[in-house]
């Protein structure tokens, strides 16, 4: 799998998180006696449950109320497989024979629980991922309730509300630690894999991740099933500790407790899951002792029951107002230990540098021979919004290495045209050919996967991902192309910065770098220089020129700065009221009387200043 080379970093991060967890847990296990040791085991089990939840909720940004259903699947599968047959025949006499006889061990049951849970999630997920994000949250709630009523009523398998008992208790502290450590590693690595990264990108900006080729439904589906598998295994572990349970345990109280741990700790971080489980565990433990009545400084406090849930709820509300992103926020453990972070970055930087040295020349440059063909051809493209013809039959074409400027007054259909080409808006009629292939009517991620990349008028980077993660999220980006793109846009030194902390101009450059990293055959730039001053936009546009030449891709650029458009573009297409009113070289267009009348008022524009200056400079760099 192509990746951006920080799997090792993720491993080190997981290792450090594990170390932290062990520092907390080991004193309890070693010196705490039986009661404290079992508290530690409960904590570790909570860690696995919360991490399983985090894998989906944290990475996808979609709240799930339904994961406890998978915990239930894991627990019941474990019950069917491990309760001794003589006990099982009493409780569940109608169980199918192969289950009635089963007497599995710890690890096989854990894996079976994970498998069944994943299978179930795979079926549910087919419906789920089609929905909009908010509807999906509600659907997970429905899932929880459907499964709760199934547990309650399908007594052949579950013995209804009386529950099942007799699961052998196999959770020693060592075993619980082992499973929790595996979970930390798996979750931390998943976050770093390409799928995990794409899932996080979809959390940040669903639309622009699709426009860069990420199949959002697919990555959500994978995240959902994977997370359910972990949840099933965690539920199995949980049942090995609790040994008897009933459907009531897979309802709202559990959902609330797990979500509280996750959100209090910081839902986007694996470390957060561990910290959240610890904090909520501590509060629960101390308050349940208060509930049993304690004396503080000799004063006997009255027994209060049912305070735990209330206190946790209050804590959550306060925490959300005080720290909406949770205690650790989005940070992983290395972000708290600067030397570790620096070391990880250095070593990652080295591996990237060695990777990029393999790159001698851009692969696209080789087939410059076919550059006379149009790489993008749109014919008769039309789109109306509620009767307004935003685009009314436009033809557009661009060659490899060519820069086409798209100008026209506000509302003339420029941005709509780009949206139609990139598949973000559906065409009413017309056709789009990309590198000879018909991409008409394809969703934007498919169009992007065929080699189209774009930027947006209002910047749509992935704000809470690192610069390097922004660039490497799209599926077409390779280690080499991404690195090169960062370098060409001057972002190499900033690559470990969070994207939303970049300056405005740098964010625009990042968006271009993210598009160019996908090695596009056509790139659409929607006002890339908007909001920049003259010198900034001069540099940017000369960079665009050299990128177009270097990658041999076609560029369509919208900008309002005519001075720049005239100097940069090979050809210019002028739109008005959804129609093309002129196409040609800058000189042709600027002297076209129709253009002058419709677009520029009757004032002729000056392109007297020599356009060669920066362009030839840029060409020399290659």
């Amino acid at each position: 799998m192509r990746r951006y080379g920080s799997i090792r970093g993720a491993g080190v991060s997981a290792l450090t998180t594990t170390a932290l967890m062990l520092i907390v847990v080991l004193p309890f296990v070693l010196f705490g006696g039986k009661s404290l040791s079992s508290t530690a085991v409960i904590f570790l089990i909570n860690v696995t449950l919360v991490i399983a939840l985090q894998t989906f909720v944290g990475n996808s940004g979609i709240l799930s109320f339904g994961h406890v259903a998978f915990m239930g699947v894991g627990a019941y599968v474990t019950a069917w497989l491990t309760i001794p047959p003589e006990l099982k025949s009493n409780q569940l006499p109608e169980l199918p024979a192969f289950l009635a006889e089963a007497r599995w061990g710890f690890f096989p049951s854990l894996l079976a629980a994970a498998f069944v849970s994943a299978l179930f999630a795979a079926i549910v997920g087919i419906i789920l991922v089609r929905m909009t994000v908010n509807a999906m949250v509600m659907a997970t709630l429905a899932l929880l309730l459907v499964m709760y009523s199934v547990w309650l009523n399908w007594s052949t398998l579950t013995r209804g509300s009386s529950g099942v008992f007799g699961i052998p208790r196999e959770t020693t502290p060592v075993l619980a630690i082992a499973v929790a450590v595996v979970f930390i590693f798996v979750a931390r690595l998943f976050k770093t894999t390409r799928i995990g990264l794409q899932l996080r990108a979809s959390r940040e900006d669903e639309l622009s991740s699709a426009a860069l080729g990420i199949n959002v439904r697919r990555v959500r589906y994978i995240g959902w099933v994977f997370s359910a598998a972990l949840m099933g295994a965690a539920g199995s572990l949980w049942s090995f500790n609790i040994i008897a349970f009933d459907p009531g345990q897979f309802s709202f109280a559990m959902t609330f407790a797990l979500l509280a741990m996750l959100i209090l700790g910081g839902k986007e971080s694996v470390l957060g899951a561990v910290v959240g489980a610890a904090v909520v565990g501590l509060v629960t433990e101390s308050f349940s002792r208060i509930e049993q009545g304690v004396s503080v400084f000799g004063i006997e406090l009255p027994r209060i029951t049912g305070t735990v849930q209330f206190v946790i709820a209050l804590l959550i509300i306060i925490a959300l107002i005080w720290r909406p992103d949770g205690i650790v926020g989005r940070r992983e453990i290395e972000d708290f230990i600067p030397p570790l972070a620096a070391w990880l970055r250095r070593s990652q930087g080295q591996s990237e540098d060695s990777a990029s040295q393999k790159l001698t020349q851009s692969p696209e440059e080789a087939d410059q021979g076919s550059s006379s063909d149009f790489i993008l051809q749109g014919t008769g493209m039309a789109k109306s919004f509620h009767g307004v013809k935003a685009v009314a039959g436009i033809d557009i074409e661009v060659k490899r290495g060519e820069i086409l400027g798209l100008i026209g007054p506000n509302g003339s259909g420029k941005s709509t045209l780009l949206n139609l080409i990139s598949g973000l808006t559906n065409l009413d009629s017309g056709q789009v050919l990309l590198a000879g292939r018909d991409v008409t009517g394809q969703p934007s991620h498919i169009v992007a996967q065929q080699g189209l990349a774009r930027t947006f008028q209002n910047i749509r980077i992935f704000p809470h991902l690192l610069v390097v993660e922004n660039v490497f999220a799209p599926p077409r980006t390779t280690a080499e192309s991404g690195h090169l793109s960062l370098k060409q846009l001057g972002l190499l030194d900033l690559r470990f910065t969070e994207a939303n902390t970049l300056s405005y101009g740098m964010q625009r450059r990042l968006e271009i770098a993210r598009a160019m990293g996908t090695q596009p055959s056509v790139v659409l730039l929607d006002e890339p220089a908007a909001g920049m001053n003259h010198s900034e936009s001069d540099i940017l546009l000369s960079d665009i020129r050299s990128l177009a030449v270097h990658h041999g891709c076609g560029v369509i650029i919208i900008d309002h700065d005519l001075r720049l458009i005239m100097r940069l573009c090979d050809r210019i297409q002028v739109l008005e009221a959804g129609k093309t009113i002129a196409v040609g070289t800058p000189t042709e267009v600027s002297s076209d009387p129709v253009v002058l009348a419709a677009y520029l008022g009757d004032v002729p524009i000056e392109i007297n200043e020599p356009p060669q200056g920066e362009i030839s400079l840029a060409a020399k760099e290659n």
Partner: protein, 295 residues
């Protein structure tokens, strides 16, 4: 056929409670994008108000009026104490915060009142029947239909013809622009929460008249149904919420009436699965629009 008609009327009656419930939830969602989980607790508050009022000797109608008033006040307090400090937070944060509030309130009811159910005395007339032709219908069924339809009618007139209603509809389309036009956002938002609370109050009275008892978790089923109706109708669509409520009400009554005995316990699950199938076919909900973001 006769039974079918009878069930249909029952379904519509139950559906109108659900529609009012969903409408209250949708009012806040369409203005602020908040799905208020603690909305269900407004129903519980109605229940406890009615319980204490009737215990103190108040007539049923007065108790109901008090219940609606308290629900509206509680709804406003939720906005002021929870959602306003969290303004600008993400959908997930807001949803979870309201989930936490719902849990906290349940804790309060449990501690301050009792974990056990409290019965609410309802007038005897509620259990009588009216015979129209060959169809026998409960008094409460008809009263529910009338009250729900009237309330929704009044709301529709208010939203369409009053200035405040216009401002709320504008805010639902684009809160920022509405503010830029000089409308005071806080007033519109409080208005949405007040209407939401009143609707919860009306639905709560109808609900309590049916169930005749209140527990700390009484709000659970209502909020769930409101969620389902809102998603089914299309998140963000107010007419969708009403239609979703009716569909779910009719679905529930018919499943109860015609499901084989062995499957009756799965009635709720079946209804949810039916809704899921509808959503598979139309992911944006019945009245929801496929949102095309401006880029």
């Amino acid at each position: 056929m006769l039974e079918f008609m009878q069930q249909l009327i029952n379904g519509f009656s139950l559906g109108s409670i659900y529609a009012v419930l969903a409408l209250g939830l949708a009012m806040v969602y369409s203005t602020l994008g908040i799905l208020n989980f603690a909305y269900g607790e407004l129903i519980t508050i109605v229940g406890y108000t009615m319980y204490f009022a009737t215990q103190a000797g108040a007539p049923f109608l007065l108790a109901a009026g008090l219940g609606i008033t308290f629900a509206a006040i509680a709804s406003l307090l939720m906005q002021l104490a929870l959602f306003r400090p969290l303004r600008g937070a993400s959908f997930v944060t807001l949803l979870f915060a309201s989930f936490a509030l719902s849990q906290a309130l349940q804790g309060v009811f449990r501690q301050a009142i009792s974990p056990r159910a409290r019965g609410i005395a309802v007038p005897e007339i509620f259990s009588t029947f009216v015979t129209i032709g060959d169809i026998r219908i409960g008094f409460l069924t008809i009263a529910t239909l009338i009250i729900a339809l009237t309330s929704m009618g009044i709301l529709a007139v208010f939203m369409r013809y009053s200035r405040s209603g216009l401002q709320m509809r504008a805010a639902a389309i684009d809160l920022t622009t509405t503010r830029l036009m000089g409308v005071r956002a806080n007033r519109v938002i409080l208005g949405a929460f007040a209407i939401s609370g009143i609707l919860a109050g009306i639905a709560g009275v109808l609900w309590m008249a049916r169930t005749t008892q209140v527990t700390p978790t009484s709000g659970f089923t209502p909020i769930l149904i409101a969620f389902i109706a809102v998603v089914l109708g299309g998140l963000g669509s107010i007419p969708g919420a009403v239609i979703g409520g009716y569909i779910f009400g009719v679905l529930e009554v018919f499943l109860q009436a015609y499901l084989p005995i062995g499957l009756v316990p799965f009635q709720f699950a079946m209804a949810l699965i039916a809704v899921s199938v509808l959503l598979y076919l139309r992911p944006e909900g019945l009245m929801g629009k496929r949102i095309e973001e401006k880029v």
